[in-house]
Amino acid sequence: MLLLRRDSFPLQSSDDIVKARQIVRTWAAELGFKLVDQTKIVTASSELARNAYDHGKGGIMIIEAIEDGDRKGLRLTFQDQGPGIPDIEQALKDGYSTSGGLGLGLGGAKRLVNEFHIESTVGKGTTVRIVKWV
């Protein structure tokens, strides 16, 4: 796996969520994602950035353009040092929300990408990593 390009951005305000969406859109377009797939990865990033900000008390997004053999992709990592998730399986269920949200962020983001990985430790924080291939 080859790392083509990497950058990171803060997720400390709802404006940062908008900026994160715009950066993901730009990188996805430059990598050659079609419009529907751009829309999917941008939507997934919006959900995960909001989770890091709303539930995780703020964090960062790391964005990486990667290459594996003859395919290129976008890898996004959302990291926070918030309260963590006690039951990940439950959190992934559609409709489950501890904050009156729709509860579609985690499960929905997972459906919109090719790879989805989540790690969370109560009291330490949460890291979600997604990959979408062009």
Partner: protein
């Protein structure tokens, strides 16, 4: 402070969302629309989202809330102009917009609003 303009068109309100809304702005739009429906005694709300590049669960919830609130205030809501890529993504996200009517464009949306409101409240013109 940023604002999303709300235009009055007869008994309807027209909102064209032209910016990538951050969450606070979406909430403010929800509040302002509710106030304007009451103030103008509006019978319908048309929300043009053709410039929106995504509808995530927060924006989706905001649109559904606006429709629910409008309904309580006796006004209908139609969302128009959703881009195909946005619609496809919404389905995969698992997002449905309960209580929200959709139409292809502003003209179709206005037709729907007019017909709904006529059936609802307008007395037929004298013969």
């Amino acid at each position: 402070m940023e604002q999303i303009p709300i235009l009055k068109l007869g008994k309807f309100l027209l909102v064209t969302i032209q910016v990538d809304m951050h969450d606070q702005l979406a909430l403010r739009l929800q509040d302002e629309l509710t106030n304007r429906i009451v103030k103008e005694n509006a019978k319908g709300v048309l929300i043009d989202i053709s410039a929106l590049e995504i509808v995530d669960s927060f924006i989706g919830r905001t649109l559904a809330n606006i429709a629910a609130m409008a309904r309580i205030l006796d006004a209908e809501t139609v969302v128009v102009g959703m881009q195909p890529a946005v619609a496809i993504t919404m389905v995969e996200l698992g997002l449905s917009l309960p209580g929200v009517r959709t139409a292809l464009n502003v003209e179709r949306g206005m037709e729907i609003l007019s017909s709904l409101v006529q059936v609802d409240s307008d007395a037929p013109p004298p013969a």
